[in-house]
């Protein structure tokens, strides 16, 4: 028995979620490049573009609600819709962290370089990989991938500790740079939070596949 209209709605929702995750990933990529290369015009563009990501998230929420209100989804489909709404929110927050990094870049005066950024781009690459895998695992209902990802978050946490330690050491030697160092710590903290958000997505994958609510953090 095939409900073609309903299936088409669910498939289009999958595509919308995938689009939102690409938008969030893209924002994350750009934000770290902006901070690394001190790009102010691109930074302002990224800040403005965040509104589009918010709208995409709202569209997904609305689409989920409409399907729930009109199609009477049950069991796995209902869990999928519930999880999709929550994941859309996580992605929207991830994009907010990217926007936050662009805002931080604007606060650090041009030409003020504490040191070349190495660990922050590394955190971003790790976070991006985690994010891609988490969305794949959700859309393919692949719980094995989701269960593997919290270990990657630990790596991001360790990188954050490393950034923090290096900046503390730097500030001790160069007290004048305390403001910039704190701002860079915030940027790294944003990326650390992205990892946490991806772990939340993984929890939703487990919920989707098993119906169990788990704490993977």
């Amino acid at each position: 028995m095939v409900r073609e209209t309903y299936e088409a709605e669910m498939n289009s929702l999958r595509e919308e979620l995938l689009r939102l995750s690409r938008m969030a990933e893209d924002a994350l990529d750009k934000s770290v490049k902006i901070l690394k290369d001190r790009l102010f015009v691109e930074g302002d563009e990224l800040i403005l573009n965040d509104e589009k990501i918010n709208l995409q998230c709202h569209d997904i929420e609305e689409h989920c609600l409409n399907i729930i209100a009109t199609q009477q989804p049950v069991a796995g489909d209902l869990r999928f819709l519930f999880a999709t709404m929550q994941i859309a929110m996580e992605l929207e927050r991830i994009a907010d962290y990217a926007k936050g990094i662009a805002v931080i870049n604007n606060k650090i005066p041009p030409g003020s370089h504490i040191q070349p950024l190495v660990d922050i781009p590394r955190m971003q690459r790790k976070a991006k990989e985690m994010l891609e895998l988490s969305i794949d695992s959700f859309l393919n209902r692949d719980i094995a991938i989701a269960e593997r990802l919290p270990a990657m978050d630990v790596e991001i946490d360790m990188l954050y500790e490393q950034v923090f330690r290096k900046l503390v050491t730097h500030v001790m030697q160069n007290p004048d740079s305390i403001a910039d160092a704190m701002l860079l710590t915030f940027a790294a903290h944003n990326l650390e939070r992205v990892g946490d958000r991806v772990v939340n997505i993984c929890e939703r994958v487990v919920y989707l596949c098993t119906g169990e609510v788990v704490d993977m953090s």
């Binding site: 028995m1 409900r3 073609e4 209209t5 609600l65 409409n66 209100a69 009109t70 199609q71 009477q72």
Partner: protein
Amino acid sequence: MTKEGVMKTIDYSLYYGDFKALNGITVNIPINRITAIIGPSGCGKSSLIRSFNRMNDLMSNSRTEGTILVDGEDIYSQDVVRLRKKVGMVFQRPNPFPKSIFANVAYGPRIHGIRDKSKLAAIVENSIRDAALWDEVKDDLGKSAFSLSGGQQQRLCIARALAVEPEVILMDEPASALDPVATLKIEELMEKLKRKYTIVIVTHNMQQAARVSDFTAFLLTDSERAGNLIEFGPTIEMFTNPVDNRTEDYISGRFG
């Protein structure tokens, strides 16, 4: 054909003797969309859908006020046979004629003067295909329509309605006598049919209205027991954020 809708009522009231069954209904049925009419028993859903092709004329004591336009023309200034060719109807219980599958579908076109055999055969095939029944009956067109299952008979009745090339198909509880699988087939069929036709469906089943329709009209009786249109709008809006509290009470089961 009017741009805004193939069919509309303007301040339309219907009486059965002294009893007012419908009170001042104004509604515009959007073209190539499925419009569901919902409401509790006795609210006038069937009276309204039966008004569109003048089925209520069969009740000797019925009279109307206001206007119903089909293709911009008052239905009472049109020939009723021509009107019913444009506005076809499918009923709650499948009601095939005691004839073969082929003859059931060919019946309407024959009445409208088509005699050419190959032309009739083409109409029958296309109509049965459009009703998503062809693969199930193509080798048995000469068999009695009663040899089909209930769900198949209902799709045959839809094919019969399609055979005279209507613009609008009225469906009065078309799936209420069917099991869930046959119901689903009818619902999927409606979704396909709306590309070519304007569909109006009366249903007791709110979930069905939510699933299949693009627009919903909610009727409710007033203190005089006359049916009033409480709300009309896109189904998604109606089921997520209705304007009227009475609509919300009804669709969330808090009615009565």
